[in-house]
């Protein structure tokens, strides 16, 4: 089967539609993962053993099982208990939750890297728990972990094709639909691969810049 540039031209607009959804899902998923990760990291530090333990196991479980199955679960099983999510929302929640368990580890390391003296100074300044977190610890912990977080966001981007399994019309799904009706796999799949490679390589450049910009904090 030969490569057909006319066909490429014909399907390009459809694939671009898909790219948009892919990027949207990645961005929303990243935001959610950043929040979920922080929540998990904080919960794991909770003085209540029950909270920290159960959140710990929950995160282990999410991290030890495939995202694809989690997506099926969110999309097809949750409606049984009355939670009916549109495909994109279900996909973003799946991505955010799954990668949240990874970013939680990044947060944990970032928080542990804030020197003990900062906690003590905050206490000596009589700051409460909330103020200590929001004004002292997190502003110091987060910038150094931006590169590590960005790493996971690139990884997440590469897993968005899984959302096609729950009918999200992202790049992979668009390509599959094109392939289904034209019986041509070569062009759509190659283009999908190329899109991913290009965007990933660009994001590597971005990552280098982030590392340069936020890599370390001056004390």
């Amino acid at each position: 089967m030969d490569w057909d540039w006319n066909f490429v031209q014909e399907i390009m607009p459809t694939l671009i539609q898909g790219v948009k959804i892919t990027i949207l899902a990645t961005v929303l998923g990243s935001i959610l993962a950043a929040i979920v990760g922080l929540a998990i990291a904080l919960a794991r530090r909770s003085p209540h053993r029950l909270v920290s333990r159960s959140v710990g196991w929950f995160a282990e479980f999410i991290r030890g099982t495939p995202l694809l199955v989690q997506l099926y679960f969110i999309f097809y099983v949750l409606p049984d208990i009355g939670i009916l999510l549109p495909p994109l929302v279900a996909g973003v929640i799946g991505l955010g939750l799954h990668y949240g368990t990874y970013t939680a580890e990044v947060y944990r390391a970032g928080i542990d890297n804030v020197p003990r003296g900062q906690w003590e100074a905050a206490k000596a300044c009589n700051l409460g728990g909330r103020h200590t977190w929001t004004h002292i610890i997190l502003p110091q912990a987060i910038p150094p972990m931006i590169p590590a977080l960005a790493n996971y966001f690139i990884a997440m981007f590469k897993e968005t094709p899984l959302l096609s399994a729950i009918t999200v019309l992202e790049l992979m799904n668009q390509a599959k639909i094109v392939a289904n009706s034209s019986y041509r796999y070569m062009e759509p799949m190659t283009l999908v691969g190329a899109f991913f490679l290009i965007i990933s390589l660009c994001s590597v450049v971005l990552l280098r810049w982030l590392e340069h910009r936020y890599g370390k904090i001056e004390r």
Partner: protein, 219 residues
């Protein structure tokens, strides 16, 4: 009404396929990790470039897309792989690319003095690598290899989309046979988690065994 034991049997068959994929994929990944990881440290520019290209390509594109490519596009170029071969190949090469960076990092973390001791004892480059550097680097690689193996296990679920009868695929079959969505998905999530725990436990045990005698030298 439903024959649960029969369906459970189907799921267990799927688990066998998943385990088979994980083991074979991990074997390939291990080989590739060392080949490419050592390749990146080679004296020869051509080998370094080749290794870098392999690593960047497989880390830069989505595993899911690679799988579809291997399964539907490669045959058009005359390379026909069975679903199992395609799955093992893609998963192995993909995880191997990540492993290569682990191998490289671990080797580079071994101190200069060990290399100098090798030179002083007149060991050749490869002899020193084989008997002195790699055995020490292996211990450093092991925990990350364990995480990579769990990532591999999770990634096997994607092969269900090229109709390889793994755990996730069998869950889909059971689902269409019984009309129940919750049971098959909950069951396989649990199985995946147990498999992940087994891998984590195995790696920890291996690590402890290898670290014996090294106490006090390395953390």
């Amino acid at each position: 009404m439903t024959d649960w034991s029969g369906y459970l049997n189907l799921i267990l068959q799927g688990a066998m396929v998943t385990v088979q994929l994980t083991v074979m994929g991990a074997a390939l990944a291990l080989v590739m990790a060392f080949v490419a990881g050592l390749g990146r440290l080679s004296r020869f520019v051509a080998i370094r470039c080749l290794a870098t290209a392999y690593i960047e390509f497989f880390r830069g594109t989505s595993g899911f897309v690679q799988l579809f490519f291997a399964y539907f596009v490669l045959p058009l170029a005359g390379v026909t792989l069975t679903p199992l071969q395609a799955g093992v190949l893609v998963l192995g090469l993909n995880v191997g690319a990540y492993g290569a960076e682990v191998v490289r990092g671990a080797i580079r973390s071994i101190g200069r003095e060990q290399y100098e001791a090798c030179t002083a004892l007149n060991l050749g480059r490869w002899q020193g690598m084989r008997h002195v550097i790699l055995p020490q680097a292996l211990l450093i690689m092991l925990p990350t290899f364990g995480n990579n193996a769990i990532e591999l296990l999770k990634a096997t679920s994607v092969v269900s989309l090229i109709s390889l009868a793994d755990l996730t695929f069998q869950a889909q079959v059971v689902r269409s046979q019984t009309g129940s969505t919750l049971m098959p998905f909950a069951t396989i999530l649990l199985i995946y988690f147990i498999l992940a725990l087994i891998i984590a436990w195995g790696v920890r045990t291996l690590e402890r065994r290898l670290a014996r005698g090294l106490d006090g030298v390395r953390v």
